[in-house]
């Protein structure tokens, strides 16, 4: 196989059928079995952030911050954080446990469902987790009275698509992971820095804006969510939308092929 063929083989479009949803449904059924554990922590976490950063730290901040106050500024950031966290951890640790420890994938591919469909189902499930968690955060933020625009209702759409993007990125790491501890690398060196430096908790300085939008998935989601929540739509947000959609498609296809290569030798 030439290098070109090899690269091409990572980008062949997977053949997917409705069976993808059966894999999704399996994960959904497990989720609903333990719904209490799955609903309460995501609800409490943003409250601590709002209290600690928003009210606590925010009291010392008097600069000119978009939204008027720090608590208002970080609200869309927290929604974006939950989008990133839930899908990323679902498709790294969660998928790895199902693949490696529980052999769930092996069990499923002995039925008419293909490996591509299993991975696609996992990715869609990761996106669903983002949708669920971020909706919970959105409710908390609304309860704090931090939402000023009805455009906020579009955020779940961003959550699903952004969740799918992070699922795909996560699944690529899973395809590379020799063991579960490997995920410390992307978690500490990719996810955490992106959260802290990507415009979630403070406005990015002018010079950092362009590189951040080009390289950081979270920044694109934060900008979009902030625009929607503040009702402040700028034409530049279209580039964020386009960026998210293209990167989502890219990693959706890449991660399915990478996982197939890892699991079917």
């Amino acid at each position: 196989m030439t290098t070109r063929d090899r690269i091409k083989s990572y980008f062949t479009l997977p053949e997917l059928t409705y069976r993808v949803w059966k894999v999704w449904r399996r994960n959904f059924d497990v989720f609903m079995k333990t719904y209490k554990v799955n609903f309460f922590p995501p609800m409490l976490e943003p409250i601590f952030y709002l209290l600690g950063f928003g009210l606590g730290l925010g009291a010392y901040i008097s600069g000119n911050i978009p939204g008027g106050s720090l608590i208002k500024f970080i609200a869309p950031g927290l929604v974006s954080m939950s989008i990133m966290y839930s899908s990323f951890f679902e498709c790294t640790y969660g998928s790895f446990v199902r693949m490696y420890y529980q052999k769930t994938f092996d069990a499923i591919i002995a039925t008419p469902i293909s490996m591509e469909e299993v991975i696609a189902g996992e990715l869609l499930w990761g996106a669903t987790r983002s949708l669920i968690s971020s909706s919970i955060v959105l409710c908390v933020v609304a309860a704090f009275g931090l939402i000023s625009s009805p455009l906020t209702l579009l955020i779940p759409l961003v959550a699903f698509c952004g969740g799918l993007m992070f699922s795909g990125i996560a699944m690529c790491f899973t395809s590379l992971a020799p063991n579960i501890d490997f995920f410390n690398y992307p978690a500490f060196l990719f996810i955490t820095p992106m959260l802290l430096l990507g415009g979630t908790f403070f406005p990015l300085p002018q010079a950092a804006q362009l590189p951040a939008t080009i390289f950081l998935p979270l920044t694109n989601i934060v900008l979009l969510n902030r625009g929607l929540m503040f009702g402040n739509l700028q034409i530049s947000l279209l580039t964020n939308v386009a960026w998210i959609i293209s990167v989502t498609l890219f990693f959706f296809v890449l991660s399915i092929n990478a996982m197939k290569k890892k699991l079917i030798k």
Binding site: R19, K22, R25, R26, D29, V30, K33, Q102, K103, T104, D106, A107, I108, I109, A110, T111, P112, I113, S114, M115, I264, K265
Partner: protein, 306 residues
């Protein structure tokens, strides 16, 4: 569908980088038979099984199931096959009954029918009382039975059993054997791998012995025993003069020393060794019927495979 060649392989090969797991093998499995794949660890049994149920693509060669090529008709083939893998891959997140109903959903079996079948299968596998128990509370034997039940949820025409009784106590093994015999009577074609020669002898109509990726012998259990190790085996404690006496007295018999025992195999009819044992009682001398384990060790050697 003719009864012959329900599953057929020609020149079937599977390679991993430089390692050849299955090396250019030809075989047939007939409809309704129980066909056993025997061989030491790493012989290529599981790889062959995985190619039959379309989860591993062959590197080369031709493999058809019910006339359909595994590389072209994977979904159709998987619909008609039930698989009980070697490893426990039951879903630990679900109860016994949910394991069956979720698995049925993968096969597009409607909800009502899946619950009906699941109930029947729990009765078949004697797991009715464990219906709502989570998987990690089951014993190894119960898990194996549930795996077997799960493999039957789609009413398969072909059942692949990869070491179905490894690690089970004798009671649990016999229960599984019973179930396999019942399924055979119902006309299910069964492919079985095992390390237990008694299991192979009891369950299988025909055996394929694999070693280092090749099929080195095939036949019915009785044929293989007769052909390779004859009728009877004389076992006696090793001593130099015993060896010499035996060599003189039975010049045509095959003699093998295993640790501190002499094994003597003969093709002559039953009773050949009897007079010898009676006339010259030696330490620890016994005469027993030759069995499949003798065949297996003769063909694949006594060297440990890991």
């Amino acid at each position: 569908m003719s009864s012959a060649n329900f599953i057929e392989a020609q020149g079937l090969t599977k390679k991993y980088d430089d390692f050849v797991a299955v090396d250019n093998i030809d075989f047939q499995v007939y409809k309704g038979e129980c066909c056993g794949f025997l061989g030491p660890n790493g012989a290529g049994k599981t790889t062959t099984i995985k190619m039959i149920h379309c989860v591993l693509p062959p590197a080369s060669g031709n493999l058809t199931v019910a006339g359909m090529n595994v590389t072209e008709k994977a979904r159709e083939i998987k619909k008609m096959i039930g698989v009980a893998p070697q490893e426990d891959n039951l879903d630990p997140d679900f109860s016994v009954i949910t394991n069956l109903s979720v698995y049925a959903r993968y096969f597009d079996i409607p909800k009502e029918m899946s619950l009906k079948r699941a109930a029947e299968l729990l009765r078949f596998a004697q797991l009715e009382e464990k219906r709502d128990v989570v998987i990690n509370q089951l014993s190894t034997g119960m898990k194996r039975r549930l795996i077997l039940a799960r493999a039957l949820i789609n009413e398969p025409q072909i059942l692949l059993l990869d070491e179905p009784t490894t690690g089970l106590d004798p009671q649990a093994r016999h229960l599984i054997w019973d179930k396999i015999r019942t399924l055979k009577k119902q006309g299910v074609t069964i492919i079985l791998t095992t390390h237990y020669m008694d299991e192979a002898a009891v369950l299988c109509d025909r055996l394929l012995i694999m070693d280092a990726g090749k099929i080195i012998e095939e036949g019915t259990p009785a044929e293989l025993v007769r052909k390779h190790v004859g009728e009877e085996v004389l076992e006696v404690d090793f001593e130099e003069d015993t060896m010499n006496v035996l060599k003189q007295k039975f010049p045509n018999a095959r003699l093998e020393v295993v640790s501190d025992r002499i094994h003597l195999f003969t093709n002559e009819p039953h009773g050949a060794f009897e007079s010898y044992v009676r006339d010259f009682p030696r330490k620890g001398a016994i005469v027993r019927t030759a069995n499949l384990e003798d065949v297996f060790l003769k063909l694949t050697g006594r060297k440990l495979r890991e």
